[in-house]
């Protein structure tokens, strides 16, 4: 395997459409399972009197194996000649949607699995909405259990048309549609003879064709995470979320708009470095004081992208708590290291993505697993960018009583 790259891939789809089985098959066919693990699965399969259960590779909780379902998201690792993969299994049940969202929010690519017999189902639709919300750019649609429909091309095409319509409505474009049988190993890690009408790549080839997400050169965004003391001077630490930072550079501290200068950039054990790049965690010395939640950007005259400094935001949120939200209720809004109290003051529309026909306009309530286009009013101004420009600056989490209850993006 090549060292130096790794791709996070979420496996999503409706319950029982075969997510865990697909992953198990990928691991098995790429010879990625430790001998012990194989033994353990053989042993458990013997004890329970069932055939080899590939799903057991991912479903590790006793409750998961007993009920034959995935409860929580899990990350596992395997490698091809091209790179290392971090495979994120996600649960397909509605009651575990928050775990699916958790897993997917770390993905750079996704596989959406659809059962050839059942077609597009409720959780397929909900998962698609979450993939849209996280802005997934690399997607493989697989139609599983093709063996059970005799590799019928017409049925496959019908499912592909339906899912393509749904994805398009969410501004997602899938890169591949692959007919597979995870159980039989058809078109998973080896190109199979069946179905004869399919000439595209297998799942593994499709994955290998993806790239790690390219980081575009954009303006600096440096949210202050904390302030320490180093050599008797305050040192503001944080992570570069966008652009880069140079020693001696002039910056603007938002939301106040004060100007300042980066006197030094510090790391350990290398002190006083000249430059910090995107994703790098560093400490900086400034000639003005800052605190957590402040955000450094280039000064106004040298910006190419103007950030918003706003107290009212129009958003799209996905509610993942079993207790609904009632209009006007106080919540905590968190984006990068910014945090403030706020409330939703208008719900333009709310709906369950499983049934997008039924839409509540001007709703008073947002229920579990519902998507809502809504207006949030905040107590303090926050600094934002459009999600399409700088995703880190355009997404947020809502918390209630210390628990995350929704994730969203700024429209």
């Amino acid at each position: 395997m090549t060292q130096g790259t790794s791709l996070y891939v979420a496996i999503t789809g409706h319950v029982d459409h075969g997510k865990s089985t697909l992953i198990g098959r990928l691991f098995y066919d790429t010879d990625s399972l430790p001998e012990e693990k194989l033994e353990e699965i053989r042993k458990i399969s013997l004890e329970t009197g069932e055939e080899m259960q590939f799903a057991f590779i991912m479903d590790h909780l006793e409750e998961e194996r007993g009920r034959g379902i995935t409860i929580d998201t899990a990350h596992t690792f395997f490698s091809t000649e091209k790179r290392q993969y971090v495979i994120i299994d996600t649960p397909g049940h509605k009651e575990f949607l928050k775990n699916m969202f958790t897993g997917s929010s770390h993905a750079e690519a996704a596989i959406l699995i659809i059962d050839a017999l059942e077609g597009v189902m409720d959780q397929t639709r909900r998962h698609c909405h979450i993939l849209g919300l996280i802005g997934i750019k690399q997607l493989i649609v697989v139609v599983n259990k093709m063996d059970l429909i005799g590799y019928d091309k017409e049925k496959f095409d019908k499912i592909v048309i339906e899912i393509t319509d749904l994805l398009e409505s969410l501004s997602i474009r899938q890169n591949y549609n692959i007919p597979i049988s995870a159980k039989e190993g058809v078109n998973v890690a080896t190109k199979s003879e069946e179905p004869r009408w399919y000439n595209g790549p297998d799942v593994l080839q499709a994955l290998d064709s993806f790239n790690e997400l390219e980081v575009e050169e954009k303006d600096l965004r440096f949210p202050i995470q904390d302030v320490y003391e180093l050599d008797g001077k305050p040192l503001a630490v944080g992570r570069v979320e966008s652009g880069g930072m140079k020693k001696g550079q002039e910056v603007s501290i938002l939301p106040s708009g004060k100007r300042s200068k980066i006197l030094s950039i510090e790391k350990y054990p290398d002190r006083n470095i000249d430059f910090a790049e995107i994703e790098e965690c560093v400490g900086i010395n400034l000639d003005k004081s800052v605190s957590r939640g402040d955000l450094l950007t280039p000064p106004e005259e040298s910006r190419t992208l103007t950030p918003g400094i706003v107290k009212t935001i129009r958003t799209n949120i996905f509610w993942i708590d079993s207790n609904p939200y009632n209009l006007g209720e106080e919540i905590i809004f968190r984006s990068t290291t910014q945090e403030t109290v706020g409330k939703i003051t208008k719900i333009y529309k709310a709906y369950d993505p499983a049934d997008a026909e039924e839409v509540w306009e001007n709703a008073e309530v947002i229920g579990d697993s519902q998507v809502a286009e809504s207006l949030i009013e905040l107590d303090k101004p926050i600094v934002t960018d459009s999600f399409n420009e700088i995703p880190e600056m355009g997404r947020f989490v809502l918390e209630r009583e210390g628990y995350p209850v929704a994730g969203g993006i700024i429209l």
């Binding site: 430790p34 590779i57 590790h60 596992t76 350990y268 995350p404």
Partner: protein
């Protein structure tokens, strides 16, 4: 940014986030490769000086090399070291051979840790566990709440979206924080090599055997190996099908023992 730097920055961000949210925090150091890597990352995150205590849970059954390593680096790195021992049970002669292994782990590790947390009032612990170690660890979050009895409610974990970590502790909970969760065994060794992080000689082959995972002397067996340095260890890992914790007795007794141990608060 190269692959190892990405992993490092992700961990440092989480460590700093944890320290921002919990001032009453400590690092759990087993002196193995993973928790020593975590300790190293903490030194980097805080510019050489870790601003909180480092706990070693001493069962009394550790390798002499491990005690020597601990004392040497605790001094060299200026650590505020707390040694947690369940003296009562150690005096009573608790051991893996006298009682069952699950009970021994619970008393000498989990309960020893409980005592330290109670005494010092820690609200959060940094732990060097990794997702690729064990199926049950693959389901961990970066920030994971535990109740007063250390129970891990693995069936209903709070959501953890993007880099927003849930850190609201109820009065009687503490948080487990896992900053190197995303690293694999190979990543760890590659990072150890790049950063020149010291590691115990037990990890390297002597007379055809080495330890891949280090715990207590009676419950830990070495694997056949000729790997005498880090490069050879990495090469070996790239070509093995053996599980990392294959030499750890507590993982073996039944298929769900690790789940049970973790639900009870095991590290």
């Amino acid at each position: 940014m190269d692959y190892l730097s990405k992993l490092e920055n992700k961990s440092i961000y989480i460590i700093r986030e944890a320290y921002y949210r919990f001032k009453n925090i400590a690092l759990l150091w087993s002196i193995g490769k993973d928790s020593t890597t975590l300790l190293w990352l903490c030194r980097k995150a805080f510019f050489g000086e870790i601003p909180f205590p480092v706990i070693h849970i001493d069962t009394g059954y550790k390798f002499p090399e491990i005690y020597r390593f601990r004392d040497h680096y605790a001094k060299e790195w200026g650590l505020d070291l707390i040694i947690g021992r369940n003296e009562e049970k150690i005096t009573e002669g608790m051991g893996p051979d006298r009682e069952d292994k699950l009970l021994c782990c619970t008393e000498l590790k989990t309960n020893a840790l409980k005592k330290v947390i109670e005494k010092e009032g820690f609200k959060a612990l940094l732990l060097g566990i990794r997702r690729d170690e064990h199926g049950i660890r693959a389901k961990e979050r970066y920030f994971s709440p535990r109740d007063r009895d250390f129970k891990w409610n693995y069936k209903d974990q709070p959501a953890e979206l993007w880099d927003q970590y849930n850190a609201m502790a109820q009065e009687d909970t503490h948080f487990r924080i896992h900053p190197i969760l995303h690293m694999t065994e190979k990543d760890i060794w590659r990072y150890v090599k790049k950063e020149e992080i010291p590691s115990s000689e037990l990890y390297f082959s002597k007379e055809g055997k080495r330890f891949r995972s280090i715990g207590c002397v009676p419950c830990c067996t070495p694997v056949d190996s000729e790997a005498q340095n880090i490069d050879e260890v990495i090469y070996e890992l790239e070509h093995t099908h053996e599980a990392e914790r294959a030499g750890r007795a507590q993982d073996k007794e039944d298929a769900y023992v690790m789940q049970k141990l973790r639900a009870l608060g095991y590290m």
